[in-house]
């Protein structure tokens, strides 16, 4: 049996309300909240970035896995906001969690599904017998341009998953990936903010790939929506995942637990992975969950996980994502937010 041995998440303590951003730009706050189904989002502290988030998430995953980090053979971390353009984030994370030096590390990048990719590759290492354990992390502190629609949703956070074959808490039943060249959202080198194709990001991008990966997996694994206790879809805003789920035949009730976006925002590479983490926090032995990621450019990875008897004990061993999202919160003004996110041009020193 191969699957998730430990999972963990981390979100910063800072928040900004959608209404605060709307007030700044003179947008209709109520309309935005209704249209995007978002209320507030997480903001990284001045001293936080993809690497620090990944470290905390990985430490939480280790708490649930209860294994010696030196047994993990590889670490993969996917993000759209790696702190360095050239120099891996993963190397810092292996040092911070004490994996030793005889490991394989790679950073991934594929818009919002870089985390799910890291998970897929880690799973494949264990499945192929290459390694005993491998960890896949999705973490981001991505930005939206000031005044752009993405500013309402782009947030910070991440989740980590340790894959193995011993003491599995959630078995991988099946996976499927669907990819095409679809330029719906991109950022050129040296540009500070990404750009996107407006409504083109919907049907031809998000929905095409999510639905294709989902349908293919459901068919080849012989599953129907009713077989699942929960379902998680990538959450660029509050509406898209609910609509995709509905088209496939999932209910709002099934999607509720993993639907963390309205209080977290879109943590990009951390989005569907964190939705999955929220589900694993409550999944009961024997129950199944469905998960589909989406990365612009574009592609989707779908997974089916089934909880084992070992999952219940592991759930309480690290903070649960909903507790973190509802726990300590420090709200920022737009000015503080702009300063933290370096949207303001500073003098040379900073």
């Amino acid at each position: 049996m191969i699957g998730i041995v430990g999972w963990g998440s981390y979100v910063p303590a800072y928040r900004i309300k959608i209404s605060t951003i709307a007030e700044q730009w003179g947008d209709d706050s109520a309309a935005i909240e209704r249209g995007l189904l978002l209320r507030e989002k997480t903001v990284p502290g001045v001293d936080e970035d993809t690497i620090t988030i990944a470290v905390e998430a990985a430490k939480n995953a280790l708490k649930r896995a209860q294994i010696d980090p030196k047994k993990i053979g590889a670490l993969y971390i996917g993000s759209e906001s790696h702190p360095y353009a050239v120099k891996p984030s993963g190397t810092l994370v292996i040092e911070a969690i004490g994996m030793g030096h005889d490991v394989h590390v790679a950073d991934f990048e594929f818009a919002c599904k870089a985390g799910a990719e890291a998970m897929f590759v880690s799973y494949s290492h264990v499945k192929s017998g290459n390694m005993e354990y491998s960890i896949g992390i999705g973490a981001d502190t991505s930005q939206g341009a000031p005044g752009d629609a993405l500013e309402y949703s782009a947030s910070a956070g991440g989740s980590a998953f340790i894959f193995g074959k011993e003491n599995v808490k959630a078995e991988v039943i099946g996976t499927h990936s669907y990819t095409s060249d679809t330029p719906d959202f991109w950022r050129r080198e040296y540009m500070h903010y990404p750009r996107h194709g407006g409504r083109f990001t919907g049907e031809p991008a998000y929905f095409r790939h999510v639905l294709a990966a989902a349908r293919a997996l459901l068919e080849k694994s012989n599953h129907k929506p009713e077989d699942f206790a929960h379902a998680v879809f990538h959450m660029p805003n509050g509406k898209f995942p609910l609509k995709a789920g509905k088209i496939l035949g999932f209910t709002d009730e099934q999607m509720k637990q993993g639907w963390v976006v309205n209080k977290m925002g879109n943590t990009y590479s951390g989005s569907s992975p964190t939705g999955l983490a929220a589900v694993l926090d409550v999944l009961k032995p024997g129950e199944k969950t469905f998960m589909v990621s989406f990365g612009s450019g574009a592609g989707s990875d779908s997974f089916i996980f089934q909880a084992t008897d070992a999952i219940t004990e592991a759930q309480g061993k690290a903070p649960k994502i909903h507790d973190m999202l509802d726990g300590k919160k420090i709200y920022l003004s737009y000015g503080q937010y702009a300063a933290y996110r370096k949207k303001i041009r500073y003098n040379d020193i900073v």
Binding site: D47, T52, L92, I349
Partner: protein
């Protein structure tokens, strides 16, 4: 000005809180050859749990340039549960909650950047628990 050479040597204690416990019971995060009070050279390698108590603190209003974006911020001297003493920035908190005797936990954070193009420096900071 922590360049690559000086930075990479400190990774063990900065990322993993690797410390030493001498046979007198003296615990130090800073790597030493000799116990400064007993002269002993006998120690074992340990890792700090990261939990401790505030002994004293201040709020820094005028920082060195590399930290200017974070000011004002609290700095505290803490004693970890193992007995090691360190100086840390206290973050994600209300200043009024930073007190002598408050309990803290160390977390992994970015400490500073070497300007726009230099390396990033990481290490430990404290949150109130």
């Amino acid at each position: 000005m922590a360049n690559s050479q000086r930075y990479h040597r400190e990774i063990g204690h900065r990322y993993r809180l690797e410390a030493q416990k001498f046979d007198s019971g003296y615990v130090t995060l800073a790597r030493r050859y000799i116990d400064p009070t007993t002269g002993s050279k006998n120690y074992e390698d340990i890792r700090l749990s990261g939990e401790g108590t505030i002994l004293s603190f201040t709020i820094i209003y005028i920082p060195a340039e590399a930290y200017s974006l974070e000011a004002p911020y609290p700095i505290a001297i803490i004693e970890t549960d193992e007995g090691a003493r360190l100086t840390v920035q206290v973050i994600d908190c209300d200043f009024k909650d930073v007190k002598i005797g408050a309990r803290v936990k160390l977390v992994f954070r970015k400490i500073r950047e070497e300007g726009h193009s230099g390396i990033l420096n990481y290490g430990y900071k404290a949150i109130l628990i």
